[in-house]
């Protein structure tokens, strides 16, 4: 026990003293944040109108009420008043996106509103171009203002005025976005954290001849295996966590929508953490075993690649099925089970049996893997091959 702890402390010290490894630990998270935010900003700029944009277009029979409401809302316009007869000519400019809008008010629109004795219903026409962001945005603004004007005049009662009364929607929406994307994303992040660490820690030590120095001390091979697995799993978990924070901070920007992570309570976060720990242990153990066959870090990374592809494929399952599997036997399949279980937690559809099977299966695989790694460390053909 004591020796395991000594090894863990040394491994941590080693990673935090090696600048390259620090970069490997934290860079993915930082990169994700920067790239996603940047992408989000670009996407946003494509679907939203700049703050100081001046809308251009034509208006027929200008309504002062409409104009003053726009001013109140601080929306800048540069509209040319034209005669009804010229509408057709200017439609071309909307079509080819030179101007944003043509609004056609009925004659004496404002006056007619004062005397609500109209027999016929008046019609306001707004011509716009949905392929131009500014145009369709102004169309929405126009609709909103006109609706407001209309409801002020004929208002009898309001329903749900002024705020969002839809309580279920946001949660469901967040949950559905999260449960569709995050399980896969979390698996990828954890796996890439692992691949940055495991080859270095096992094959790297072999390559540099530093593991042999440990093997001539009274340290048991099993203690070395456990110490290595525990320490590099923790580091991979930290790396995964940093990436996860990066995702959560930049994700809302990316999809231009507020993801509400607070819809999940302590129970969900605890279960997610449990599953992720079991995943990290298993992935690190597998990569450590594969790395122990390699003579160099490079070789180890090459050996791991095919496994990585397999792991990624298994981690994509819910992206395709869009629901969690029911058959409990399927939860014995590593990586697949993590993806499925995370999906069910994120979508508030936890099946306790499947969850327990997932965690226990992964822990059992880890323990078996540690046995194997112990054998590897004791195997001179693997440790000292030429």
């Amino acid at each position: 026990m004591r020796n395991i702890w000594i090894i863990i402390k040394k491994e941590f010290a080693r990673f935090f003293k090696d600048r390259r490894m620090l970069v490997a630990l934290f860079l993915p998270g930082i990169l994700i944040y920067v790239v996603y935010s940047f992408m989000g900003d670009i996407i946003n700029s494509m679907v939203t109108v700049e703050n100081n944009y001046v809308y251009t277009g034509y208006v027929v029979n200008q309504s002062n009420l409409f104009k003053s409401t726009l001013e109140l809302e601080k929306i800048k316009i540069n509209f040319e008043e034209i005669d009804e007869s010229h509408i057709e000519e200017h439609k071309e400019e909307i079509k080819n996106r030179e101007k944003d809008i043509i609004i056609v008010f009925p004659k004496q629109f404002d006056e007619s509103l004062k005397y609500q004795n109209n027999q016929s219903v008046m019609n306001v026409e707004i011509f716009y171009n949905s392929t131009k962001t500014e145009s369709s945005t102004f169309y929405q603004i126009g609709l909103e203002i006109l609706n407001k004007i209309e409801s002020k005049i004929t208002n009898i009662f309001d329903i749900n005025a002024g705020q969002n009364y839809d309580l279920a929607d946001e949660k469901d929406l967040s949950a559905s976005i999260i449960s569709n994307l995050l399980p896969m994303l979390m698996l990828m992040l954890i796996l890439s954290g692992c691949i940055g660490i495991a080859p270095e820690s096992i094959a790297g030590e072999k390559e540099r001849g530093t593991i042999a120095t440990l093997l001539v001390t009274p340290l048991k091979r099993r203690e070395l295996a456990i110490g290595k697995i525990v320490s590099i799993s923790s580091l991979a978990l930290i790396s995964g966590l940093v990436s996860f924070i990066g995702v959560m901070l930049s994700f809302p920007k990316l999809i231009a929508r507020n993801i509400d992570a607070s819809i999940y309570g302590f129970k969900e976060y605890f279960l997610i953490f449990l599953v992720i720990i079991s995943l990290t242990l298993m992935a690190i153990t597998l990569m450590a075993i594969v790395s122990s066959f390699a003579k160099s870090v490079k070789e180890a990374t090459n050996y791991i690649s095919p496994f990585m592809i397999l792991m990624v494929l298994l981690s994509l399952s819910t992206m395709i099925t869009q629901s969690a599997a029911n058959n409990v036997v399927l939860y014995l399949i590593p990586f697949f089970n993590v993806n499925q279980t995370l999906y069910s937690i994120f979508s508030f559809d936890i099946n306790v049996t499947n969850l327990i099977v997932t965690v226990i299966a992964n822990v059992v695989y880890t323990i078996l893997g540690i046995f194997m790694l112990t054998k590897m460390f004791g195997n001179e053909k693997i440790m000292f091959s030429r």
Partner: protein, 257 residues
């Protein structure tokens, strides 16, 4: 005289990969590195394992230090069976070879503490030992410099000191002066004699006759994985010097094949 190490009829073969077959210029799949090696070492002496390159010296010392296992044969160190109780053996021995490296990211100071810890040396004793050894080898001046930034000679000094953190009774050094500058080599050989005088048993491998003549009490001549003679140095060199004795034996051995 008390026997402290006994090697009986040890055999070790290596499977050769294609690549190795090319390097060794052979088409045999198996390389016999040790072919029934036997010898004994007595308490308080420096034993020199002398032989040409490829004779099997490193292989023998790796087996003694439990890094690899013998295919056949029996080895006892201080009454402990090496194959049955390797961890106990590792507590008793200090092993040094050029292939045991120290991690670049740590300072000599950190490494000494780390290995002392693994050997379960009490804190006070470890500190006192560190002070003494660092002073002796002049490590004090760079004890807070990361291994990555040390010269080869400095690294070797640190490796040597690290192999002694637990003050082992039996010290096994593979080619101890190889690659050292003359000054460091002298510090090492003087130190080995000092250790012997304080009652430690030391086994070194080498292909340098003068080193054996200078510090060894007993010498074993190993050729093609077999111990040809293992005798007290002064007995062996009664009539001829070591070099002549060696070549007489060598001609006889290699000529026979």
């Amino acid at each position: 005289m008390e026997k402290i190490l006994e090697v009986q009829n040890v055999k070790k073969t290596f499977k050769l990969s294609r690549k190795q077959q090319k390097i060794e210029k052979t088409n045999q799949k198996i390389k016999v590195a040790l072919n029934g090696l036997s010898f004994a070492t007595y308490k308080g002496e420096i034993y020199g394992l002398l032989g040409p390159n490829g004779a099997g010296k490193t292989t023998a010392l790796r087996i003694l230090s439990t890094l690899i296992k013998a295919d056949e044969g029996h080895i006892e160190i201080d009454g402990i069976d090496v194959s049955k109780n390797p961890e106990e053996v590792r507590r008793k021995i200090g092993f040094l070879t050029s292939e045991l490296k120290l991690e670049d990211f740590f300072t000599p100071n950190y490494l000494f503490d780390f290995f002392s810890n693994l050997h379960d040396v009490p804190f006070d004793i470890a500190n006192e030992r560190k002070k003494r050894l660092f002073e002796k080898f002049g490590i004090d001046s760079f004890c807070e410099v990361k291994v990555a930034n040390l010269s080869t000679g400095m690294k070797q000094k640190v490796s040597l000191v690290i192999s002694l953190v637990h003050d082992p009774d039996i010290i096994i050094f593979d080619e101890p002066t190889n690659g050292l500058d003359v000054l460091t080599a002298k510090v090492v050989t003087d130190f080995l004699q000092e250790l012997r005088n304080s009652g430690k048993t030391i086994i070194i491998s080498t292909h340098i006759f003068s080193l054996v003549e200078k510090i060894c009490d007993r010498v074993g001549i190993i050729i093609n994985g077999r111990m040809i003679v293992s005798e007290k140095l002064n007995e062996l060199t009664k009539e001829k010097n070591l070099e002549d004795v060696f070549f007489d034996i060598y001609k006889k051995e290699v000529g026979e094949e």
